[in-house]
Symmetry: C2
Subunit: 343 residues, 2 copies
Amino acid sequence: MVSQKIRNMEELASVSGVSRPTLSKYFNNPDSVRASTRERIEAALERYDYRPNIYAMNQNRSLTKNVGIVVPYLADPFFAEIARNLERRCIDAGFSPILFSSHGVPAYENDILEELRSIKPAGVLLAPLGRVSDRRVIEKFCADIPTILFDSNLDGIGEAFVGSDNFSFVSQTVEYLCRTGEAPCFFEMATPVNPNAYKRRAAYLKIMEHLGLEPQIVKVDGESWEFEKIGRQGALKIFDQDGFPTNTILCSNDRLAIGLLSACYERGRRVGRGYGYALRVASNDDHPYSRFTSPSLTTAAHDYEVVSKRSIERLLDLVEAGGRFAKRTEELIPARLVLRESA
Amino acid sequence: MVSQKIRNMEELASVSGVSRPTLSKYFNNPDSVRASTRERIEAALERYDYRPNIYAMNQNRSLTKNVGIVVPYLADPFFAEIARNLERRCIDAGFSPILFSSHGVPAYENDILEELRSIKPAGVLLAPLGRVSDRRVIEKFCADIPTILFDSNLDGIGEAFVGSDNFSFVSQTVEYLCRTGEAPCFFEMATPVNPNAYKRRAAYLKIMEHLGLEPQIVKVDGESWEFEKIGRQGALKIFDQDGFPTNTILCSNDRLAIGLLSACYERGRRVGRGYGYALRVASNDDHPYSRFTSPSLTTAAHDYEVVSKRSIERLLDLVEAGGRFAKRTEELIPARLVLRESA
DNA sequence: GATTAAAATTTACGCGCGTAAAGAAAATAA
DNA sequence: TTATTTTCTTTACGCGCGTAAATTTTAATC
């Protein structure tokens, strides 16, 4: 590293013996220049430590290398985990990921989309808030910016959807519970924020019908993203009133289940499988904390790796295709049943 | 909103009857133009929906309105929560926050700092990885970019530090435990990644000494950021060997405690205060999940609001001061004891 | 060695805005 | 009213790079 500081490409061109337009080509794609030229450039870069000005790079370019990643609620470790995975894959693919969280607030989601516009991203991976999302705003955004939806599907919006197969989740948990004991009731929020919840409820009803069993849905109040709190308070209320209709409970998602387990503990309802246990509890998601609950939680696991891998693949396809697919696709990744102690 | 699209300030100038340089002034600070002029601009903005090109704005400007926020591990809900808080405050102060997570990997931390350089932020809020951080890299970064450290202090690095007062955390939990029963042993990782852990250990030793009690430190192996797993496996190992030296355990942090509680449940050690309980467990942090553990966790709470508020305030001071403080300050926010069921 | 294709260079222009300087207009003070 | 200050407009230049077109150099093929 030499003390002389390189201010711009012009100066780097003069010290590397390569023309500025060639440098520009190199920074856009190192493989687009001859090997001998590349070596000269990289030798100069080692000596002088120069980085192109990203603002200058992007202002006169229709398409940047930025990728927006938007999740509805980053304080949920599930989204933190998936975001981490997506970030890494973006970087590996040569893009610059920028992470946003809507924090459960529709107005924030809209603001984020506005800001994303001004960043002119090559593409966006968007996990929308769901029911409370401003559909029209998202639709308009997707019309302008190449966008892949993930996690939560909004019918017809975005160039493609990649998410988990809710039917696969619920069918595995329901069938497991039925096979090993009593059929479960379904524990959920009355008005879920997330569309996956509706699909899980529908899946539960369908599977129970298919098995010739009577479905029983237990709904709890609560509108926010504080699912654990909602699950806990809802369960405490149920314990204090009529109790659950069955001794086997399938939760719509793990965060509700975490709240439920906390309520069970407080009310002295032992959760587990076999003799001496009052309740069986299973759930869906394989939330990062579900192995540390007491007891650990039997659940249907997202395939984080595959969901994030496919999302990025679809995004790269989309960028390559110029931002539009001929046809919107929906890809659903199946779940994997994880047996633990709670059921 | 009119259909005609405004491509740049020049066009907005022509339709608003205001000159382009005045518009430029307006966008940099709406209050810097006369009220009547401001009204004309805003009337035009409502009709035409124009946003300045951020790349063009920033390339010829030494100082942007960007603020970098770097946390060591976003999958930890504590950092997700603090990041959310910081983000909001940045926006309210008229800045554009950009969130990064080092994901526990020093190389990522370095990469993030490199990327932050090219964004030319007005300032950076950095919670470093800690022990595994590349001190020299961070030091060099702080020399170039105005940076406030938060959460983890690195001696002498950055213009200021804002964090929690570890002594306050541990003194409150230790004193509470001693007052209500047996003195605690201290449960921690042998080689913690986070410097706060060292301060908490030191605080424990000091407080025990001050109380004239024999300190007992229980260390578990593990190098990663998967604290729950480390706590759980460490505790299981201890249960299978000599057991804990006392029946009252103070964990260095809540995530370790979550793992410990899971191990206690598995081994049938009832955790709580009073007759019929085998162990008391307390901890530090008031992790978002600590109220949903079984039993719920007695812990010393971070004051998220105050920590984030003070961090942003220091950052704004720093930006106003031109990026340098005459003297590095350290601000420590005390904890608040939260009594729950575990101790 | 001549022919051809590929890559690099030179030249030139433009992106959208920041910003400085000088003069004109408007608001405020006297 | 006039003088003064503030605000705005006009004019002009530059930021660092993308990118296109024409030309020259280099490499590959015969």
